[in-house]
């Protein structure tokens, strides 16, 4: 009898367990269990493995687990002295930049104890930025070499007259060379600072690179002002001449005469190709100057949180199928983004200017005179800037409707 009772009780207990398990399964199906329940809300092995696999993990659960002073135990209670914030919670607050840090050093950057976006910045700088930027410049140089081999130097088609006219005044040339000279120095020092570790240190050694890098940094920082002044002057002198007009379409329709001889569409002081370069220089120049100023005065001119806010408001990320851009950035992240943007703009700028330098020197006969002595042969002026020639001299520039030439 006792055995039967024992077996009956065991059966009832087993049935009870089964029912409990079933209820638990149903409960799980009804509402997904907290994946971090087993760790009390802390990150799990799966979180760590996912991070190691390079997957994006939502760290909100960590970012927000920074304790709560309002729920602190009374001072007389056990752990009351912690003030409701345990050590791990305090470190998390420091880690995610939400701790109330007070420092005697000036500047917002001093209040940031931990920031981890530096590795992302470094990986992008040494990876895609250097790689694609380098390919872009090499590609442009290769394309120009190929163009030179195929097309050769763009010659003056007609007979040179030996008579010259003033193309650019001395102050215009001064402004151009102020901009150009500083740009070349900024480009060279910028490239050597970016590629120094990869290319120059293996070549000349660290001992030689160190003073060169210091000098390069000084040059880059201080010559920036001449560049900005040159940009302002060039804009003042040439903006009005670079407003698009109907002749530009004609010029573009025949490719400016770059690819064929004896084709000279009409152009005023600047042709469509030169206008493209002018507006490119202006837009890129302003952008690179603003990001450069942000870098010159570290942490004083944060740009990107504000820019991202505007872009989000305009719906740009949504149009591109992206999530909203972050509008809260640490001071260091602002600097990292400013540096990357500065370099990206610089690469595009250099690519355009390489083409400009080519056409202004070896690419086109007589083009350098315009910025060298300021005087150009009348025949050159007739062929490349027929309408401008007529305006300046009052003489006909011949059948300029059939003729043109490219941007120098």
């Amino acid at each position: 009898m006792a055995i039967i009772t024992q077996r009956l009780l065991a059966f009832i207990a087993a049935l009870g367990l089964l029912l409990l398990q079933g209820t638990a399964v149903l409960a799980q199906e009804a509402a997904p269990a907290d994946p971090r329940a087993a760790t009390g809300g802390a990150q799990t092995l799966e979180d760590i493995l996912a991070r190691q696999r390079g997957e994006n993990v939502d760290y909100t659960f960590r970012r927000e687990a920074i304790g709560d002073p309002d729920r602190a135990a009374a001072m007389t209670d056990q752990l009351g002295t912690l003030g409701g914030v345990s050590d791990p919670e305090l470190w998390r607050a420091l880690r995610y930049g939400s701790a109330n840090v007070q420092v005697t050093s000036r500047g917002p950057a001093a209040e940031v104890v931990i920031q981890d976006s530096g590795m992302t910045w470094l990986a992008f700088r040494e990876g895609p930025l250097s790689t694609y930027g380098g390919y872009l410049l090499l590609g442009v140089l290769g394309a120009l070499l190929l163009f030179y081999l195929v097309r050769g130097r763009i010659r003056i088609d007609g007979e040179k007259t030996g008579r010259t006219i003033l193309r650019f005044s001395s102050i215009e040339r001064f402004a151009h060379w102020l901009l150009a000279g500083s740009f070349v120095l900024l480009g060279i020092t910028g490239l050597t600072l970016l590629f120094g570790r990869k290319a120059l240190i293996p070549l000349i050694g660290q001992a030689a690179y160190s003073p060169y890098a210091s000098a390069g940094k000084w040059v880059h920082n201080n010559i920036a002002w001449a560049f900005m002044l040159g940009l302002v002057l060039v804009t003042l002198f040439w903006l009005v001449h670079n407003i698009p007009n109907r002749h530009d379409l004609k010029w573009l329709a025949v490719g400016g005469g770059i690819f064929s001889k004896n084709v000279h569409p009409p152009a005023k002081k600047f042709n469509a190709g030169q206008k493209i370069i002018f507006w490119g220089v202006l837009v890129l120049g302003v952008s690179i100057s603003v990001s450069g100023l942000s870098l010159l005065f570290p942490f004083q001119m944060p740009l990107f949180a504000l820019t991202f806010e505007k872009l989000n408001a305009l719906g740009v990320p949504q149009i591109l199928g992206m999530a909203d851009l972050p509008t809260t950035l640490l001071p260091h992240q602002e600097m990292q983004l400013a540096q990357l943007w500065h370099a990206i703009v610089a690469f595009v700028f250099m690519a355009i200017i390489l083409a400009h330098i080519y056409l202004g020197t070896i690419g086109m006969e007589g083009a350098f005179d315009a910025m060298g002595t300021g005087e150009v042969d009348e025949q050159w002026a007739k062929e490349h800037h027929g309408l401008w020639f007529e305006e300046v001299t009052g003489k006909p520039a011949h059948d300029h409707d059939k003729t043109s030439h490219p941007a120098e």
Partner: protein, 52 residues
Amino acid sequence: MTLPPPKGKTPMKSMYLAFLAIAVIAVAADFSLHRAGFSIQEVTSGPAVRLD
């Protein structure tokens, strides 16, 4: 082939002057920004920090 400079004019004078101006502006910018208290040392340190 480039044209000879007009008589009585220094060839490429504007270019040389611009290059000189670049150097002058750079030195002046460095000097004046330091004098105006824009060195990174002055901007980011406080009275409790001794760097020298």
